[in-house]
């Protein structure tokens, strides 16, 4: 298109800074979208690769949640004619003296028919397989791990095991590639029977990996094995192991999608703003084009094409930036995996998938085009005769304002109606969108009103500069309303995210006060959530006899498939729970429900489990163990933050019956009155610490840990806030840059009639700060609304918990100076360019 080259390009080149700033919204929106999803996908892909590598030629895996199962399952599976090879596995993470390792406990005799241990130096698995098997301290590590830590055959790796401190001996080093690349090499192989002891598994396996005879279909085999073992076992291809991580990461993806949408939305207003100004600025140019015979359609197409091109360039930059962002975020998300698997998953390749790029282009283009529709239309409407007359201004028509207000009113009414029926999902989200739309449509009128209100104040502070600044805002709503809208949206986002975080912390604290009230926690790891190691039940009896210990709760928490998702099931002595840590019921009868759960007549579900997995009060859940399939109704719903995906509390005796598993993850200890916490802790460590792996955490340790986890989860929120603020600041810089160009002549006159440079500067600064104040004001109002909806979104789809509405005043105190400061800083550059330019040119500027 020749017009684009002749008309648009010179203009863009002249206003390069502005063009770049305008694209910032799209760049950031696309970057966050591409970055987050790429990071997510890359880590997930890497994780799937890890799963594949660990799986080897395994076609089917048999497990029983995380509860494990008895060894005889192996022989039963092996006896099937469809099964070519079956090998038991224990998979657990351990913090060794040499860093975190995912330890694969395997049967070295049979495992090689499933996995290829490509070993250093020899083509054989281990230097001497018999020695490896004969010695319980044998371990195989990977070449990358060995090289990083300078370990060789015969090197010693200390580990705290359930049988006390042990030193393992490296008896094999796997060549890089294949299995050795899983988890970036942080993987070690151990004999399965040794691993049973290390991790306190008793005579149980975590998993059986199966390879099938040639010609046997996986589906057939799954059906057959499932029928053989019963519903207490999960019989699945290895690939389904990504499930839990996918569930976790999908929450992050949803949250980041919201940020992208917001960034793009904000970007849309910045683009609208710039284009609206560009149209008024280029009015004479448009007039000339029209006079030379360009049709209205051609003018419209010209502007839309300009916006499409800049949208495309913005998208491109966004994608590049997003890939860079993804590299950073991949580490963060990989870290999340370590919460789930104990070992961090790095992503070796961080590349966006084609569909993601396509989606980014569509998003960037759409945003850019939608933003340009109105300005393009008003460009097409330019009257060539008027446009060619110098010195005449065309202002925002009253008609446009009226239409806008009418639409705003319609949206407001519709959003209120939707609000009244917001128990319907799509109506709720629809109402949410409408509420935002109302605010957006009203924002020019509101800014005008605000500016008028500010005028006397500004005039009081600085009679000339203040008046000029306020008048500039009042007279040219087109110039600033887009920016103010963008600022308003950013702030609303910040307020809602901040409020959400604040309220979450508060709810979490409320919960912790009750649920995490034991004095001491005896755990197998430094964190309360690690589940690699388990205690024998016998330890609990010993703990009971420690002087000063009044009560011991045996807590077993395992992830089990419930309603198709791995859900945290917490089995413990319910009577004791009721005595000490009775959470208020959201649904159900508090006075009876604990008793009934204790009697094995039902379970207590967490609020987020019910919300996120569509479970109702009274619904009967199937919890299938290897020994028995339980059908237990939900007889109580409580607010519990034990797990992001929700949790189920059941009676320990019932659990043991169904799972034949009496192991314990955590002993929760209540001390007798007057007992000294430190002393009891020391006694426990002295008595049991050297014979087995054991940590004694105080109440404060545990709370700090939970708070750290929460901080990590909200880490992403802060990134979102940063993006929102950044976009808003860029918006202000953009608006002012544009405003200065737009007003060069006016500013020139001011200087010609004797305005000192400082006076010009002050005018611009005040205008900027006024934009900040107005945006802040509107943002706070919209933020209050947005927070309400965010709390609802969180309740419905993110965390499933009613966290309560608490306006984050603290956030306001932080944000107000940031925004005003940013507005001021944003004004510095434009103000300087206003006083530096040639006066003569400015006066002739048109």
């Amino acid at each position: 298109m020749i017009l684009l080259r002749l008309i648009s390009w010179p203009y863009a080149r002249k206003h390069l800074l502005r063009v770049v700033l305008t694209m910032a919204g799209i760049v950031l929106g696309v970057a966050v979208f591409v970055g987050m999803h790429t990071a997510n996908q890359s880590v997930l892909a890497a994780f799937h690769q890890t799963i594949d590598r660990i799986a080897g030629s395994t076609q089917i895996q048999v497990s029983s949640g995380e509860a494990g199962f008895e060894e005889d399952v192996l022989e039963r599976v092996r006896a099937l004619p469809e099964v070519k090879a079956a090998a038991p596995v224990i998979e657990a993470a351990a913090n060794t003296g040499q860093g975190n390792l995912l330890i694969l406990g395997v049967d070295m005799l049979g495992d090689r028919s499933l996995r290829n241990y490509d070993l250093e130096g020899t083509d054989d698995a281990i230097d001497d397989p018999l020695v490896f098997l004969a010695q319980a301290d044998s371990i195989i590590i990977t070449k990358p791990f060995a090289e990083q830590r300078n370990l060789a055959i015969g090197a010693k790796i200390p580990m705290r095991t359930m049988q006390g401190d042990q030193v393992f001996t490296v008896r094999g080093i796997m060549k890089p590639g294949g299995l050795a690349s899983a988890f970036g090499g942080s993987l070690a192989i151990m004999d399965i029977y040794a691993a049973q002891k290390v991790f306190g598994r008793g005579f149980k396996f975590d998993r059986v990996d199966i390879a099938l005879e040639d010609g046997v279909s996986i589906d057939t085999a799954i059906t057959k094995i499932q029928a053989l073992l019963g519903p207490g076992f999960q019989v699945e291809p290895p690939s389904s192991r990504g499930q839990q991580f996918e569930a976790t990461s999908s929450i992050y993806a949803l949250a980041s999608n919201l940020t992208s949408v917001f960034a793009l939305f904000i970007g849309m207003f910045i683009i609208y703003n710039t284009f609206a100004i560009a149209v008024s600025e280029r009015r004479s140019e448009i007039g000339i084009l029209r006079a030379l015979g360009a049709t209205r359609g051609q003018i419209r197409t010209l502007f839309l094409t300009e916006s499409a091109v800049s949208g495309l360039i913005g998208t491109l930059l966004g994608v590049l930036f997003g890939i860079a962002l993804a590299r950073g975020m991949a580490g963060y998300i990989g870290g999340l995996l370590s919460e789930v698997y104990g070992v961090a998953q790095g992503a070796s390749e961080v590349n966006p998938e084609p569909w993601l790029l396509a989606a980014a282009v569509v998003m960037g283009l759409a945003t850019s085009l939608i933003a340009a529709v109105l300005p393009a239309r008003s460009a097409a409407a330019v009257d060539p005769v008027k446009a060619l007359q110098k010195g005449r201004q065309q202002s925002l028509s009253d008609g446009e304002n009226r239409t806008r207000r009418r639409w705003a009113l319609a949206c407001a009414v519709a959003s209120v109606i939707a609000f009244l029926f917001s128990n319907v999902g799509w109506l709720f989200y629809g109402g949410y969108m409408l509420a935002i739309l109302t605010a957006v449509l009203l924002s020019p009128a509101m800014s005008l009103w605000f500016a008028k209100a500010l005028r006397p104040i500004l005039a009081f502070v600085r009679p000339v500069e203040g008046t000029l600044a306020a008048d500039s805002l009042i007279q040219s709503p087109r110039r600033t309303s887009g920016t103010i809208t963008a600022l308003m949206l950013s702030l609303a986002l910040v307020i809602s995210l901040g409020g959400l975080a604040r309220a979450s912390y508060d709810s979490l604290n409320d919960w912790m006060k009750i649920a995490l009230n034991p004095d001491l926690f005896v755990t197998t790891a430094e964190s309360v959530t690690a589940r690699s190691f388990v205690f024998p039940a016998s330890l609990g009896e010993g703990l009971r006899s420690v002087p000063g210990v009044a009560e011991v709760q045996f807590v077993r928490s395992v992830r089990l498939p419930i309603k198709g998702t791995p859900i945290m099931v917490v089995a413990l002595d319910i009577a004791s729970l009721e005595r000490h840590a009775k959470l208020p019921a959201v649904e159900g009868d508090e006075s009876t429900m604990y008793r009934e759960v204790a009697a094995g007549k039902g379970v207590i579900a967490s609020e987020n489990f019910a919300r996120l997995h569509g479970a109702r009060f009274g619904e009967v859940l199937q919890i299938a163990g290897p020994a028995e399939t339980l059908h237990l109704p939900i007889i109580g719903i409580v607010r519990d933050f034990s797990d992001q995906q929700g949790s189920i509390v059941m009676d320990r005796a019932t659990y043991i019956r169904a799972f034949h598993d009496d192991s314990v993850n955590v002993y929760r200890l209540y001390l007798s009155p007057g007992a000294e916490e430190a002393k009891v802790r020391q006694t426990i460590l002295d008595t049991y610490g050297h014979t087995q792996r054991l940590f004694v955490l105080t109440n404060k340790d545990v709370r700090d840990f939970v708070n750290r986890l929460t901080d990590q989860w909200f880490g992403l929120t802060y990134v979102q806030i940063a993006v929102a603020v950044l976009v808003a600041i860029l918006g202000i810089v953009n608006a002012l840059t544009v405003s200065i160009t737009d007003r060069r002549r006016e500013l020139g006159v001011l200087q010609a009639v004797g305005g000192l440079r400082n006076q010009i500067r002050h005018t611009i600064w005040m205008e900027a700060v006024a934009i900040g104040i107005i945006g802040l004001g509107l943002g706070l109002v919209l933020g209050a609304v947005q927070l309400y909806y965010s709390v609802e979104v969180a309740r419905r789809d993110l965390i499933g918990v009613e966290i309560g509405y608490a306006f984050p005043f603290q956030m306001v105190f932080i944000m107000a100076p940031i925004i005003l400061g940013a507005a001021f800083v944003a004004a510095l550059g434009p103000a300087e360019s206003a006083v530096r330019g040639s006066l003569v040119e400015a006066l002739e500027y048109e």
């Binding site: 005799l109 020899t122 054989d124 001497d128």
Partner: protein
């Protein structure tokens, strides 16, 4: 003896007289080395293939004749494998049951059928090679009369890691001289029987060498203090006895 079996390795082979039908030849081999029990002390050495497998010693006990014999072996050296034991209960009609005992882990472990083709602790033979083979489970064909030796082809009727094997049997004393085992891809293992001597009138190889063609590695097994028909008790061949050790 209707059910005949051959054991290629730990049960050391002996020799007998002449026959022409390949199955009869094999039967004669079995008959000539028939004994009620056997005991020896063996050593094995792995050479080549980049191995760092230490030379090992063990004690071997067998009770009963082919087809329903029971055998035990226990490693005696080096120190880091001392005490690891195996119990093999052969069945005439099916694959043997094998268990391993590891004193350091404190567990006995059944060696599954699927694992029998795996190499025996880094040597050049597999767990399957430890089994006694029921003659009825194989088809034999006399391939050639090479003067002093017969060359006999043996094809397993049941599942095996090998598709077929060639036996070379010396005519004068009915002893195995060499076995070549093949799978679908070709030659896998070669076993040479050497140093024949008569022990209690049974021709017995004092050395066997197993070549793994794929890995270009060989394992030499030597048998000392070899004796037949000793008073060995049945109770020695249980899992409990395995745990106690020899």
């Amino acid at each position: 003896m209707s059910k005949l079996a051959i054991s290629l390795l730990f049960a050391v082979t002996a020799a007998t007289t002449l026959a022409q039908d390949p199955r009869q030849i094999i039967a004669e081999v079995q008959k000539r080395q028939n004994s009620a029990s056997q005991r020896y002390e063996g050593t094995l050495e792995v050479i080549g293939g980049g191995n760092r497998v230490a030379t090992k010693s063990w004690t071997y006990l067998r009770l009963g004749s082919f087809g329903d014999s029971k055998a035990r072996l226990e490693f005696t050296a080096p120190a880091d494998v001392k005490g690891v034991g195996m119990l093999i209960v052969n069945h005439a009609d099916r694959a043997s049951d094998q268990w391993m005992w590891r004193p350091n882990i404190g567990r006995d472990q059944r060696i599954s059928l699927q694992d029998r083709s795996t190499r025996f602790f880094g040597t050049d033979f597999s767990f399957e090679d430890l089994e006694e083979r029921d003659v009825e489970q194989y088809d034999f064909k006399l391939l050639a009369d090479e003067g002093a030796m017969w060359k006999i082809e043996s094809r397993p009727r049941k599942k095996s890691q090998y598709t077929y094997s060639y036996f070379w049997i010396k005519k004068d004393n009915y002893t195995f001289q060499k076995v070549e085992s093949y799978d679908a891809k070709g030659l896998v293992r070669v076993v040479d029987y050497k140093d024949y001597a008569q022990v209690k009138s049974i021709w017995t190889a004092r050395t066997t060498e197993v070549y793994d063609m794929r890995r270009n590695s060989r394992t030499i097994l030597k048998y000392d203090k070899l004796d037949y028909n000793l008073p060995i008790k049945e109770e020695q061949f249980t899992l409990q006895a395995l745990r106690r050790g020899l």
